[in-house]
């Protein structure tokens, strides 16, 4: 068990705005995510530019890959992403294709600072049995979140969310948690031992971004 990391999600429409957003807090986060909106807007250029600016951070490409896994994984990893999100709803063959590309990269580059990894993004109807099959495929990470749209519709963290995350963690899956994360919520997740990262977007890109990052980090220190 290691301490959860802090991840900033960049979800602006342009790379220029994303750079502006990440610049102030880069030294206070471990992981920089090129979010779906940014990736869809700017394409792979968004990954390669963030990689060139931040050679030492873990970089996530949040494609929520749903098909064509082999091609998208190769493209994302070659552009500089370390981790790639894959939708839980993707066909098992798609997940396997992404994982195979990651493993090939890791085998060919044994001295990578950060291994290429796949993160299953939990959308749609999935079961703990599915999660066991991901583990069997060599996949170690999953992302649990309130849907952005559900969040905008005012839905908060439920006990049901927390229990599902705990179950995943207890299976051995490293869980990243996202969806309007604020420092005041961190304690809610203290029983999820395998918390890999907390992912925040707007909370870290605003005026008080650095203070918020430090506040989340100090909450993490308290509970893990």
């Amino acid at each position: 068990m290691t301490k959860p990391l802090l991840q900033i999600a960049l979800d602006s429409l342009s790379i220029e705005k994303a750079i502006q957003d990440v610049r102030q807090v880069a030294n206070f986060v471990d992981i920089i995510e090129v979010g779906t909106i940014l990736a869809c807007s700017e394409g792979m250029k968004a990954i390669s530019i963030i990689r060139s600016l931040y050679p030492d951070h873990i970089i996530v490409c949040d494609f929520k890959t749903t098909d064509a896994g082999g091609v998208l994984a190769k493209m994302a990893f070659e552009a500089g992403a370390d981790w790639l999100t894959v939708s839980a709803a993707a066909h098992p063959a798609t997940k396997l294709a992404c994982q195979a590309v990651a493993e090939e990269f890791n085998m060919l580059n044994p001295h990578l600072k950060n291994k290429k990894e796949i993160q299953i993004e939990l959308y749609g109807n999935w079961t703990l049995q599915d999660a066991e099959s991901w583990i069997s495929s060599g996949i170690q990470q999953a992302i649990y979140h309130r849907s952005r749209d559900a969040e905008l519709a005012g839905k908060s963290w439920q006990n049901e969310d927390l229990l599902l995350m705990k179950n995943l963690s207890d299976l051995g899956i490293e869980v990243s948690i996202t969806g309007g994360i604020v420092p005041q919520d961190i304690h809610l997740f203290k029983d999820i031992k395998n918390t890999k990262a907390f992912i925040a977007g707007r909370a870290l890109t605003g005026e008080n971004g650095i203070a918020t990052a430090q506040h989340i980090s100090s909450e993490i220190e308290k509970y893990w």
Copy 2:
């Protein structure tokens, strides 16, 4: 019931290659799809360039939207897409957000040649009851396909596929069909009355692209 349309899916890594691929068959297809691979690689520029080259075609943005529906839909429609794919696994709020953006566009622009529409892309575990809820939300289209990775793994069209598509069609959903479509397969789908389009990629971009497009069109004439 109208005759199914023919859609080319552009899934190259670069817009230059995509333009090369579409140019020869553009006059033989009704719909041009900026596929997931192309959209993820080039970003929104891929949509706006294809739109400027083909002002009269229906253009599909194949994001397989899984979250942040409102933002992605707005971005895709503003760049020139007519239809946007949304993953069946997306939260209902995400689907509603996309549909709301489409309806707002249509209301503000009553003279659009092609209405903005959402297409539910059938990934993950979904039911006919889900499909009924999409219809209630005002969504009229769905896309049924063999997963690209499943197809690469050698899985063909099954009776189960055909029955599910027929059920969707009988509910009133317009179904587009994709996954290694070739002229010889068109007859398989003749009982799916509400077939909206056949989507082909590699079959239309190769050396025999025009002949294949014409062959698919003549098969459509035979069966619808």
